[in-house]
């Protein structure tokens, strides 16, 4: 189920909220767990049993691991638990990709290809697999006690607000909240405001911009396209003038931010309505003055995960050689790229990010600092925009073709009146992406997102949110439906 769908907004959401709040406090976790399983089962019927079974297995493995006093047994059980989580992720996410590449190589050497059935990707697997890894490792490292009840563990993994696209919540961050939390009316209200803010980002900004991007670059997932459709996209790209090419990639840069940040807002807002405090996932990434800063501000829970569970285990920066340090950094970003999708374009995207991160450490940050804040933001943003070509266009040849069109310098006059809705939305997206460059913007952000509202503020936010909710429902139904980009990762 998708947050920005009618079934969720008009059926699931009101019915769940009513049931949740009339349930006695002690039993609310059960209501939430059942709702979460329904939520997942609705969208991925073929995977729900597997989700439950793997969770049960993991819960007991970690329980025995914790009880065991022998370090070797602990290590083995921890290894098995992580193998289950990562193994499933690898099988579903990278099975097709691995066999495709193996068959390609086999073909080069005149070998017969392996026959295999296309594996379907369970929705949200990249997110809940990571959460189960944090549970295992945090318990193994002694950061937290394991959950006493299976239902609490299941809830941690499957909680619907963050199940399919994060934020990736570390076990240590939420364990106490699952056991006990307070649900204040003001939190419920502020959670709803945040939810509507996210919904608006998705429907009123990301979808409006994305519609124009898709017109030229096709749908974001090229796996579903026929050869004829891919050829059509190729011909559209080949015939692009530079003005349109820049507008398209700029548009995608805003689209993906508002789409994903919108989802995160909705997840955080829903969580708050239920009494949870989920970690923030975005912190104005486009005002970053370097790529390193960008990755501290973009998809923060993912960056934290990679840092804690991949970068540090590799040795982090405490390694013998400088080369190894840079390799660790680069490797982490390569893996981040691959996490986004099992395709070579994502590998290149990750590798490029890694190269820029290393360049940051070596010289780029110093150089950007000398230029001053605004030029640094512009240069960093330009790098982000350019590397997005590999993120959005899933065929490397087409990505290159697109980049060539960007630098073909055959600019044509630009007419705002050709599509005022799209351009205005782009301007709004740009405004909100860069507003925190000013102190005024930062103050407002602090007020809107992170302050406890007083009565007057509540009334204003309530009216605006209701209006926004109604408006989004209208937009959703007047324009049709679109899923979130990050759902497939």
């Amino acid at each position: 189920m998708v947050f920005s769908s009618n079934v969720f907004l008009l059926y699931f959401f009101p019915i769940f909220l009513a049931l949740y709040f009339i349930t006695p406090k002690k039993l609310r976790n059960y209501t939430l767990l059942i709702a979460s399983l329904i939520f997942y089962a609705y969208g991925a019927p073929e995977f729900v049993i597997q989700l439950i079974v793997s969770n049960i297995a993991n819960f007991y493995l970690v329980k025995y691991m914790h009880k065991s006093e022998k370090p070797l047994v602990k290590k083995i059980l921890c290894g098995i638990s992580i193998t289950i989580s990562i193994g499933l992720l690898f099988y579903y996410k990278y099975g097709n990709f691995s066999i495709q590449n193996f068959n390609f190589l086999a073909g080069l050497f005149g070998r017969e290809p392996i026959e295999w059935m296309q594996i379907l990707l369970p929705i949200g697997i990249s997110f809940f697999s990571f959460q189960s890894v944090t549970y295992t490792l945090d318990t193994y490292r002694g950061v937290n006690e394991p959950m006493k009840r299976l239902s609490d563990y299941m809830l941690y993994i499957t909680m619907f607000p963050q199940l399919v696209a994060g934020p990736i919540i570390r076990y240590c961050d939420i364990a106490d909240q699952i056991r006990e939390r307070e649900s204040l009316m003001s939190d419920r209200l502020q959670g709803f405001y945040r939810f509507v803010l996210g919904l608006s980002k998705k429907i009123l900004i990301a979808d409006v911009i994305g519609y124009q991007v898709d017109k030229i670059l096709g749908p974001s997932n090229y796996d579903i396209l026929t050869t004829a459709q891919l050829n059509d996209i190729a011909s559209k790209i080949a015939n692009l003038d530079s003005t349109t090419a820049w507008i398209v990639i700029l548009a995608f840069t805003f689209q993906i931010y508002f789409d994903f940040a919108g989802y995160s807002d909705m997840a955080i807002g829903l969580g708050r309505m239920l009494g949870f405090r989920f970690p923030e996932n975005f912190d104005n990434p486009y005002v970053s003055t370097s790529i390193s800063e960008f990755w501290r501000r973009w998809h923060q829970t993912f960056s934290v995960f990679i840092k804690n569970y991949l970068y540090f285990p590799l040795g982090g920066s405490r390694v013998k050689t400088e080369a190894r340090k840079y390799f660790n950094l680069w490797f982490c970003f390569l893996m981040s790229g691959l996490w986004h999708g099992a395709a070579w374009n994502f590998v290149i995207y990750g590798a490029l990010q890694g190269i820029f991160i290393c360049a940051d450490k070596l010289f780029l940050v110093k150089w950007l600092n000398k230029l001053g804040r605004i030029p640094s933001v512009i240069i960093t943003f330009a790098i982000i925009v350019l590397t997005r070509c590999f993120f959005r266009i899933e065929r490397i040849d087409l990505s290159w073709l697109f980049i060539k069109r960007l630098f073909a310098f055959d600019f044509v006059p630009f007419h705002f009146s050709d599509n005022p809705h799209f351009y205005t939305t782009m301007l709004i997206a740009a405004f909100f992406s860069f507003i925190t460059l000013s102190k005024f913007g930062l103050r407002w952000q602090e007020k809107v997102y992170f302050t406890e509202y007083n009565t007057k503020q509540h009334i204003i936010a309530f009216v605006l949110s209701l209006f926004g909710f109604i408006f989004c429902l209208g937009a959703l139904n007047a324009t049709g439906f679109s899923p979130f980009i990050y759902f497939r990762f």
């Binding site: 769908s5 009618n6 079934v7 008009l10 059926y11 959401f13 009101p14 019915i15 909220l17 009513a18 609705y42 969208g43 019927p45 073929e46 204040l184 009316m185 003001s186 419920r188 209200l189 709803f192 007419h415 009146s417 050709d418 005022p420 809705h421 205005t424 406890e452 009565t455 509540h458 009334i459 309530f462 209701l466 909710f469 109604i470 408006f471 429902l473 209208g474 937009a475 959703l476 139904n477 007047a478 324009t479 439906f481």
Partner: protein, 539 residues
Amino acid sequence: MKNTKTHIILFSILMAILWLPLIQEQFDIFKVKPLTGFTEKTELPELTYQSYSDGKYQIQLEKYVSENFGFRENLIRIYNQYIWAFFKKTYIHFITPGKDNWLFYEGAVKDYYGTEQYSAFSTAEKAKDYFDKNVEMMCQLRNVLKSYDIEFLSFMAPSKVYVYSEYLPRRDKDTTTINSLDYYSNALAEAGFPNIEMTSWFRSMKDTLEYTVFPKTDNHWQYTAVYGYDSLFRFMNSLNDFGIPKIKYGKPEPYYVKCHNDEASLNLLFPIINKSEDYKLNVEIECDENCKKPKVLFVGDSFIWGLNEQLPWNEIMDDVEILFYNEDVFKGFDRVHLYKNEINLLRSILRADYVVFYTSAHQWYKATYKFVEEALLALCVSDSLMQAETIRIADSLNISIDDARYKITKEPYLIKGISNVENPVIRNSHEIAIAQIANEIEEDKDWVEALKIQANIQGKSLEEIYKIEADNVLNNKTLLRDFTDVTEEMIFEVKVNELVKKWRGDKEMILFLEQKAKEKNKDFETVIYEDAKWVIEQE
């Protein structure tokens, strides 16, 4: 922070509002103005293990909810109004807003800018070849029809995009394509084919007219249709001095309309123009002792509806049949709706005194919607010849029989005897004779009634029975008309069936009966037959 009274009140309001669409959907408490447009809604899907596991249930449920949730209409109107007010934009794919609130058809705008053609032809050369072939076939069909005293002509209705191009949205014009309107006008004139081109005329006249040729917010002509049809009937008369009644009209007079069709389809909260005006001409039909009303077969697009909306068409014509886009059929002045496969094309053509191909300027690249091809095949190629030629073409092109049959419908020229001559040398003589007799039968009401009963008894379509009866006439066999074992019940049943058929073609009646079925908790079929029986009994 503590829960305050305000928090509790606000949260209660929130829950109430979240539940409101569900409650409205279930109990329909508030009256909501329906949206203009397609109204058939998805049914609530049945939840089965199969439909759930293959994801069909979820897709259908999303569709169902999006089409049925409470206050959907209001919410859509709110958003539509917002994008209209701020961006002059609509999500109605076939409508394009122009400057100063003018509305155009997207297809027409694309045609004007030269991009629509690419949906049918990849290059201008291919388009030219197709247009040339089409003009050639139109001339051939005209020659064939001439031999049956039927006039075939064309009428290019005006297109708003060409008449008011100054209000079009800005786009780049594709200069690599050809303009089908100009191309056809010249080609038909060169070939000597009778044709009226109205766009140029209206374009030159628009500044002298007191009111606009087209309403700002609609793409169909209103009062100007009278000028167009007056020209058409005069032109038809000039071809063979048939004696068609004359149209007399006065000055256009304004009258208030709430909302034009195209504007209504935008589903806005507020009208684009506060007081939309339309204009009507007072029309009188003059018919002296020499005048004669023709039977006309029209083939074309929605511009034909100006004829019955603006004129008393039954005073001008004796009978009318409309092949709407050569797909749907509207028969007679009551516009009884039939599908193409329910009629005999040959009979429809031979019944007419005039066959008029009319279409608005921007649709000309679609040629005659394959009418000319179908008509040539029907008039020239007998069943046996068609069979033989299909086999020959399949063999010569090394394709299957089915492919050959399909190819012939697209390219009748493949059949020997039609191609490369001004007037095809072959004729579908037997079928034509049958069709002509069937048309004569149709003129005799008693005979038709008798055949309807026979059709009912034999479980055949009326068209089949006409064919059998015409064959009986042609071969001096006993006529079906002369069978006497007909009961009152049989006649009653025929009448009921006829009325049901008529109602099925009437959208308003269908809606009314659907509502009635819902209210009475009966299925639609029961209600339509019960009502038809009641009406016939009253007669």
